[in-house]
C-alpha cells in the first residue's frame, strides 16, 4: 500500500502573502458597502465594538441608502407581479377593497340592521388598516426565510426584505384608501377635513407594522413555526378588534380588555379621522406613536442580537 509521505495537515501554514504593516483604519462601520461619497474604507468586523443601540439603528437605516434602488425595484416588481396578466391590472388594487366592502356591507347591514351607506364606510375604515397590518405581518414573518437565495448570493442588509414586504403592503393600503374615499364621495357621504391627517396615521402604522414584522421575520429564521402560529393569532385579533362592530357594542365590563389590545389603537385612529371626522385627542395620537416606537425598538433589538447569525441559520 503506498503510504503518503506527508500529510497536508501537518504542514506549516504560511500565514500571509504580504503582511500589512500599514495600520488599518479603525472604522466603526460594519457595513461591507463601500462609502462612495466620502471615499472611506469600510470594514466587516467579527465583533463590532459595543455600539450604542441608537447608533446601531442609525447605521442600519443609513445602510439602506446603498440599496434604495434595489428596494424600489423590489417593491415595484412585487406590485407589478401581483396583477400581472390580469386584464384590469392595477385597477384591482382599487377594485378589491371595493368588492370586499360591498360583500361586507351587505352581510353586516343585514345582520346589524344599519344604514348600509354609512355602515360600509364604518367597516371599511376598520377593515383596510387591519388588512394592511395583518397582511404585512403574515408576509413579513417569512420575508427573510424566503429570501434565502438572495441572501446567500449577494450582500443585502437583513432589514431589506421585511422592509420590501411592508412597503409593498403600505402602497396597496394607500391605494385602497383612495378607492374608499372615491366611493364615499360617490355615495354622497360627507368627508371631513381630518382626512388630511391620513398620511401621518399611515406613517405611524407603517413603523409599527415594520417593527413587528422585522422582529417576527428574525424569529421565524429560528422557529419556522412562528409563521403559522402568527396566522392563527391574527385571525383571533380580527374578532377581538372592533372592526365589524363598534366598541359600543361590547359589554361594559369587557371594554377595558378590548381597549388594551394594541391593534385597536390604530384602527381607532383611522375611524376617528375618516368616519367620525374627529380630531383624535392627544391620548389617541400618543398611544399608537408609543406603540410604534416600542415595536421599532423591539424589531431592531432582536435584529441586533441575531444579525450576524441569521445567514448561518437559513
Amino acid at each position: 500500500m503506498p503510504q503518503p509521505e506527508t500529510t497536508i495537515e501537518s504542514k506549516n501554514i504560511i500565514p500571509a502573502v504580504e503582511t500589512s504593516d500599514k495600520p488599518v483604519a479603525d472604522v466603526s462601520f460594519v457595513s461591507p458597502f463601500h462609502d462612495e461619497i466620502s471615499g472611506n474604507a469600510v470594514s466587516i468586523m467579527a465583533l463590532p465594538h459595543k455600539e450604542n443601540f441608537f447608533v446601531y439603528i442609525w447605521r442600519t437605516v443609513n445602510e439602506l441608502r446603498y440599496v434604495k434602488f434595489a428596494l424600489a425595484s423590489f417593491v415595484v416588481n412585487s406590485l407589478r407581479r401581483r396583477y400581472q396578466r390580469s386584464v384590469l391590472g392595477f385597477a384591482w388594487s382599487l377594485l378589491n377593497p371595493l368588492l370586499m366592502m360591498i360583500v361586507l356591507t351587505t352581510v353586516f347591514s343585514l345582520i346589524f340592521k344599519r344604514d348600509p351607506k354609512t355602515y360600509g364606510i364604518f367597516i371599511f375604515t376598520g377593515m383596510l388598516p387591519w388588512t394592511f397590518i395583518s397582511e404585512s405581518i403574515a408576509a413579513g414573518c417569512s420575508s427573510i426565510t424566503s429570501a434565502e437565495n438572495f441572501m446567500k448570493k449577494v450582500y443585502i442588509p437583513k432589514i431589506f426584505f421585511p422592509l420590501v414586504t411592508v412597503s409593498t403592503e403600505v402602497i396597496n393600503f394607500s391605494l385602497g384608501l383612495v378607492s374608499m374615499i372615491a366611493l364615499a364621495l360617490l355615495f354622497g357621504l360627507q368627508l371631513h377635513w381630518t382626512i388630511l391627517l391620513l398620511p401621518i396615521a399611515i406613517a405611524i402604522t407603517f413603523f409599527f407594522t415594520f417593527g413587528l414584522s422585522l422582529a417576527l421575520a428574525v424569529g421565524t429564521v429560528y422557529f419556522r413555526d412562528i409563521a403559522h402560529f402568527v396566522r392563527v393569532i391574527l385571525t383571533c385579533f380580527f374578532y377581538l378588534i372592533p372592526i365589524v362592530y363598534p366598541l359600543s357594542a361590547v359589554p361594559e365590563k369587557y371594554v377595558g380588555f378590548f381597549q388594551a389590545n394594541p391593534f385597536s389603537h390604530f384602527i381607532n385612529l383611522y375611524r376617528q379621522i375618516i368616519y367620525y371626522g374627529n380630531l383624535p385627542t392627544g391620548q389617541e395620537w400618543l398611544n399608537p406613536i408609543l406603540l410604534a416606537i416600542a415595536s421599532l425598538c423591539l424589531g431592531f433589538f432582536i435584529l441586533r442580537q441575531k444579525e450576524k447569525d441569521i445567514i448561518f441559520r437559513l
Binding site: M1, P2, Q3, P4, T6, T7, I8, K11, I13, I14, P15, A16, V17, E18, T19, S20, V24, A25, S31, P32, F33, H34, E36, A41, V42, S43, I44, M45, A46, Y66, V67, F69, A70, A72, S73, F74, N77, R80, R81, Q84, N149, F150, M151, K152, K153, V154, Y155, I156, V221, Y222, F223, R224, D225, I226, F229, K308, I311, F312, R313, L314
Partner: protein
Amino acid sequence: MTAEITIENASLRFRIYRNPSPGLKESVIRSFSKNKSAQSVIEFDALKNINLSIYGGTRLGIVGLNGAGKSTLLKMIVGIYPPQVGRIHVHGKITPMIELGTGFDYELSGRENIYLNGALLGRSYKQMKQLEAEITDFSELAEMIDLPIKYYSSGMLGRLAFSIGAIVDPDILLLDEIFAAGDAHFVQKSVNRLREIFSTSQIVMLVSHDLEQIKDLCNKVMVLHKGSIVKIGEPKEMIDYYLKEIVHFEHNANLAHAHT
C-alpha cells in the same frame, strides 16, 4: 484611489443543523434534556485563521479542492458571511461575479431584469440607465429585450446574466467559476471581455478549476486547503505545488481507501 483588501485573522465556522430550524416543540424539549449532543449540530471551520493583504495590481488566482473554502472566502469578502473571529477591511468598490443572474424574475422582461439584477449588485438607477444600452448590445438580445425572460433559451439567459455582470468598471473584481455561456462566438467575446475587465480592475480574485486559465490570467496564486491558506506565490510554482502535494495526495488517499 488604490484598492486594498486586508483580512486579519479571520475564521468562519459553519454550523450545520440536521434540522435547520428546530421548531418550538423540539427546542422546548431540548432545553429540558441534559444531553446536549442531541442538538444534532455539526460544526466545521470553513475558513481558519485567514491572514491576507491584497494590494492594487494583484490578480490573485485561488486553487483548491472542492470544499476547500474558495467560494466561501469570496463570499466572506463581499459580506455575505460575516466571520466569527477577525476582521476584513475592504477599500474600493467590489463587483462580485459569484453567481450570475441572481434574482432573475422569469415573469419580467429582459430589460427589467437588467435593472433588478444590477440593483442587487449594488448599483444605482443612474448607473443602470447608463449601462443598459451597453448591456443589451453586448448580450446581442436587442430584439428580445422586452419579452419576459421565461421565453429565453438557456443560452440567452446565460448571455444576459453574463452581460449584466461583465459590463462594469470595478475596483475589485471577484470571480467564482464564471463560465461564458452561449455559442462559440459569444464565448470568445466573453473571454475577451473578461480579459478587458481583468486589466482595468485594480484587484482581481479568481476562483477556478481551470489551472491553465489561472496561469494565463493571474500574477499570484493562492493554494487553499481545508479552509486554510497553504501557500501563496508565483502561479507556475503554486500550481505545480497544488498538483503535486494536494491533488496527488488526495488521489492517493482515495486509492488507498478504495483498496482497503
